[in-house]
Point group: C2
Chain length 468, copies 2
């Protein structure tokens, strides 16, 4: 009987949505719904939603949230579904709100150095569009060929450029959102500066759709940077690579990227693409230097000298774009190369720069202890590590061991003064970690904010905040 | 009788504070209390507080807020009192919480590029201390010789460097705060990146002591920049200066400062220091270029060429530090030079770059219409204008006309797509403007956040949010 009542209720919700939405916005085909019910997080729980709404306008989004409030139905916003923490995973009986169709670039303004975009605009599409005006949108998560600006905002996405140019939130001037009560509200501003009222823009950035649904963003842009040089260094230990990073920092240098790729990644890339890197290095460091002119050339040489002084077995500067691309390809191909070996559970801890060598050593020990292959790529200049746990999908025991390793990595990051998530967000996978990282009083403040802005609890419930 | 009851209640509050605070922390001397009851905002209402507490520790601050919650007494945090919006003005019967004594620089870490400081550390003191380590704390409000980091955080202070290096909030990684319930909570992080939970750090930044009291800050630092060149341009109209700014922006150049000083300021400076500037220009533009090496030299020449192409009557580049200092002196001396003529009511609107010439023209017309002298200094590269309304203090009519002019400037800024406050904060003076700038729904969201984090309403009540 309960099941029949639920079915009747579901039909009422679907009817209410159909009455408010354009034709074909509401999707109930089980295969389509299932395909849009999860992001890329391995092993995060996925609910069975009632339906998907493909929103095409702010009015569509407002209608969905209003119906959700009226009927007490959860709404899970999603973009391209490239998230790695389960933040876009569907909730049982809820609605998936697909924003990928709201992909208009409404304005690119070279004078104000800003763009106004829908949440569904793909990161790389935006970058290409503004480049045509001599402008640059820096945030460059590895998902940039597919991930949307709305998703980038939801997770406050980072990337390779952050070490010099900051993260997504540093480029969000203002937002149009649909609130937890279904109202359309503009937050922030379109001026270069502004301190009128509380910074709700920054509060919504990184809140993973739990405080509001972003329907438009005003993004800050920069002029395109000067062409970059790439500095590569091969090291025979992670400790030496950590020492190289320390030297670059202490020399007062600011590379536009500083990336680490370890031997597990190099071996996987070699096994796939036969680049031969794993024969030459245990660890590769890649720096990008985009200071203009001779000063940039000098900075690149100084970065190389820091690598050498830290014991690099080889280090050199390249100003050739093709050569630089080949060097960064190892970084870019690491993840897909590892995925060829089995499902990859991606970690995202961030620790102080000084703690990076110790953290990498502990990750190595954790892998040995649990018999789990753990490869490492890292935005080492930010102390943001991505241990990649590769698992044999046919072996349930391997999966359980990987989950233990995942928890141990979190414990070690916290013990070293780090955070459980540098750029991927909390979603479902890091809720326990959040509860371990933050004080009960801080969690209570966040619950109070959530209750204040989503009083009906319909916006992506169960994400970010750990259960009480 | 009510008065006597109030006095008895006051004595109970003072007793409770004495029991919790170190000797001499509680100050009731009327002259001292009056002197610490207001900031530098002209004409903002000042209440008569019960007492001042000179906090020396986080425990002192927690004790004050706990007593305040218990007895329903407002708490107004303050640093140096250099605010320009009345945000630190005392509330009748409340406590002034003076944080200027919490002035320890606990840590300067060149490797992590961060500093840990008390809220009472003076901006320039911090800058000097980190410079000794080759590091730089960029935010540079004009008040930097006196204003405290706590006050800078409370207002999300800007300054001259923002156009390239951002505002205070861009340099706040984490905070220790005392909450509205008197708990000590750490927000944010000390790692370079981190997205664990909601960004309450950014929410507290700029909230003017209404959501929490900052007791410690973890600040991001940069390496010291390269020595800068100064580019000066003389123009015969604000429209020409606006055109010069447009050309610099459209050329993709990023100066580290771009400041405008108008003829009223030049005349006041000349009257005081006899620099002769007002004979040569209606408007002066000053740019600072700190790109390193030859590229920076080239950028400076290109800025100069933009000035010339826009009709500058004179423009030149100087790499001489003394000459640059002399040029920026006119900018720095404008405010005190004007204050010699009478009380100065400082505006702080921010408009799109494209709207700056029109906004300056409207300000000129507003001054004529109300018979008020309005001088202009502007962070023109950010569109952040500081019309300075100079009033004869002996003339009540002049003051009333200046208040009308103040309101008209706000109206014009809003009509041109701007905001009522670029960097000074809302305090008391911009509450009406905030209500005009923001939608009722947005104001309601902010009230909900205030109620969630300050449920007893003791933290700087009446500031920022307009009365309902």
């Amino acid at each position: 009987m309960a099941g029949m009542a639920a079915e009747r209720d579901d039909e009422v919700v679907l009817q209410a949505l159909r009455a408010r939405l354009p034709d074909r916005a509401l999707v109930t085909d089980p295969d389509v719904v299932a395909g849009l019910s999860h992001d890329d997080a391995e092993w995060a729980a996925v609910g069975r939603p009632l339906a998907v709404v493909r929103a095409r306008s702010t009015a569509d989004v407002a209608a969905v949230v209003q119906v959700a409030v009226e009927h007490g139905v959860p709404v899970v916003p999603r973009g391209a579904g490239t998230g790695l923490s389960g933040g876009a995973n569907a909730v049982d009986g809820g609605l998936v709100l697909d924003l990928s169709g709201m992909d208009a670039i409404t304005r690119i303004d070279p004078l104000e150095r800003l763009a106004v975009v829908g949440p569904g605009v793909v990161n790389d599409h935006l970058r290409a569009a503004v480049a045509a005006h001599g402008l640059w949108y820096p945030p460059d998560p590895a998902s940039s060929p597919w991930s949307t600006i709305g998703g980038n905002i939801a997770t406050n996405a980072g990337g390779v450029c952050c070490v010099k140019y900051g993260v997504t939130g540093d480029y969000v001037l203002g937002l149009e959102v649909v609130t937890g009560t279904g109202e359309v509200v503009r937050l922030g501003r379109s001026t270069a500066k502004g301190v009128a009222g509380y910074d709700l823009t920054s509060l919504v950035v990184g809140s993973e759709g739990t405080l509001a649904v972003v329907t438009e963003a005003i993004l800050r842009l920069r002029p395109l940077p000067a062409p970059a040089r790439t500095v590569a260094g091969y090291f025979d230990s992670v400790v030496a690579a950590g020492e190289a990073t320390r030297r670059v920092w202490e020399a007062g240098l600011v590379p536009a990227a500083l990336e680490l790729v370890d031997r597990h990644c190099l071996a996987a890339v070699d096994a796939w693409k036969n680049m031969g890197l794993s024969l030459e290095a245990e660890v590769v460091l890649l720096a990008r230097v985009d200071d203009p002119g001779a000063a940039g050339d000098e900075t690149a040489v100084r970065v190389r000298d820091c690598f050498t002084a830290a014991g690099a077995t080889w280090a050199d500067v390249s100003a050739d774009a093709d050569e630089a691309e080949a060097l960064f390809a190892a970084r870019r191909l690491a993840y897909p190369a590892l995925e060829r070996l089995g499902p990859v559970l991606t970690e995202d801890v961030c620790v102080p720069i000084a703690a990076v060598p110790e953290m990498l050593a502990r990750i190595e020990a954790t892998g040995r202890r649990h018999g789990t292959t753990i490869a490492n790529i890292a935005h080492i200049g930010d102390g943001n590590l991505h241990p990649l746990l590769v698992v044999d999908s046919s072996d349930e025991g391997a999966r359980q061991r990987a989950e233990l390793a995942f928890d141990d990595i979190i414990s070690d990051a916290l013990a070293l003064g780090g955070t459980v998530t540098g750029e991927h967000g909390v979603g479902l996978l890091k809720r326990d970690g959040l509860a371990r990282e933050q004080s009960p009083a801080l969690l209570a403040m966040q619950r109070a904010v959530k209750a204040a802005l989503d009083p009906h609890g319909v916006l992506n419930p169960g994400k970010v905040l750990p259960p009480e």
